[in-house]
């Protein structure tokens, strides 16, 4: 196997591009594809401050690494989910990376700061763990970005993630989700801009990127992911990809180019029904408190009581 660029010994095949690459040219491919996605979808402008959502896994650490190498000003945000050993190990991976690159990692810890963990939240809300996890993370990333004065939140979603979500939404014709599945969601009142710089790169490439760069990411899967539909969709798509390389790319980018606009009016109509959550101020479609506050109300039984020293004034608001 020879590198397509320099004809030196290759370390990886990227069948979607019908090409093999040596380590140096593979890293360059990853950076170039990220830069291309950023430009194509106008994700990040010069001088903007970026907050990357870091899980300790390959995609988010690769995303942070590549954005730094492309010259962007990027901090990380890690959310402790309270999922046993998995959370301990993933938090350590995120911290090690931040120290190695000399960048700031902001941290929120669900059990410490909000009084619940993902398994407990799922039980209290009678939802699947990934749904509780997703809504918690979205809320906390938005809030941290707005509070910290960041212009953009970046996530490590790769081509396989996006193709699998698209596959699931299409299987069930969830048209309001289809209208929102974009690599960039513009900022709106209460929401920072959200971007997915890795959409042009596959999952296998992101793992390979970390191996080549020596990034020590958490390889073991979150135990809550076991048997979820998303993994099944990825496997199904990879079975197609194995006989027909490029299928995932065509599926996702074909959707963006030729289908996604048809679903947008429905998603936009939903946006117009947004109002501010009476408890936290975040935009919500609900009549009462937002989904996050409702979760904290139900699951956050152990929210720490903030004892104040004798004689101190009542705090106007209880810190979350």
């Amino acid at each position: 196997m020879k590198c397509r660029v320099c004809r030196g010994p290759a370390i990886i095949d990227v069948r979607r591009h019908n090409a093999n690459f040596c380590a140096d040219h593979f890293l360059r491919l990853c950076r170039d594809q990220t830069a291309k996605a950023i430009k194509e979808f106008d994700m990040i402008r010069p001088g903007e401050r970026v907050l990357v959502a870091v899980s300790g896994g390959k995609d988010s650490l690769a995303c942070w690494d590549i954005l730094l190498d492309l010259g962007y000003d990027v901090d990380g945000l890690y959310i402790g989910l309270g999922i046993g050993d998995y959370s301990d190990a993933s938090g350590d991976a995120a911290r090690r990376f931040a120290v190695a690159r000399g960048r700031t990692l902001h941290e929120v810890d669900l059990p410490r700061d909000y009084g619940y963990d993902i398994p407990g939240g799922a039980r209290a809300a009678r939802r699947v763990p990934c749904s509780v996890c997703g809504l918690s993370k979205r809320h906390l990333f938005d809030q941290a970005a707005l509070d910290g004065g960041f212009d953009v939140v970046a996530t490590g979603h790769n081509l396989d993630d996006e193709a699998a979500v698209l596959f699931g939404n299409t299987l069930r014709w969830q048209t309001e989700y289809l209208g929102r599945q974009l690599p960039v969601l513009p900022a709106r009142p209460g929401f920072p801009r959200k971007v997915k710089p890795l959409v042009r790169l596959g999952e296998r490439e992101m793992a390979a990127y970390c191996v080549v760069r020596g990034i020590d990411y958490i390889v073991d899967e979150c135990p809550m992911a076991e048997g979820n539909r998303h993994l099944g969709y990825k496997e199904a798509l990879n079975a197609i990809e194995a006989t027909s390389p490029g299928s995932k790319h065509d599926f996702y980018f074909g959707f963006l180019a030729r289908a996604s606009a048809h679903f947008r009016p429905e998603a936009e109509a939903e946006q117009e029904t947004l109002r501010a959550c009476p408890q936290c101020g975040a935009p919500t479609t609900s009549d009462g408190v937002c989904a996050f506050c409702s979760l904290v109300d139900r699951a956050g039984g152990a929210v720490p009581v903030h004892l104040r020293p004798r004689g101190a004034a009542d705090p106007a608001t209880v810190p979350g």
Partner: protein, 66 residues
């Protein structure tokens, strides 16, 4: 040859030499879904693995539906 697998973690003994693609086919693994790694280095798909090799087959699919 020692082959380390994950999720769940286990170790297999497979007689070598064997080509990477043949090994993956034999274990019924999709080459899109794994990386083959030895000593922290990526092993290309056309490599021949000697009988005294120790390799890791690392899954690359990860799963939260968010």
């Amino acid at each position: 040859m020692k082959v380390q697998l994950r999720n769940p973690a286990r170790e297999l003994d497979v007689p070598g030499p064997i080509a990477v693609t043949a090994l993956l086919a034999r274990l019924d693994l999709n080459r899109e879904s794994v990386l083959v790694i030895a000593d922290g280095i990526l092993i290309p798909n056309d490599a021949m693995l000697p009988d005294d090799a120790t390799i890791e087959i690392r899954p690359v699919i990860s799963g939260g539906a968010t």
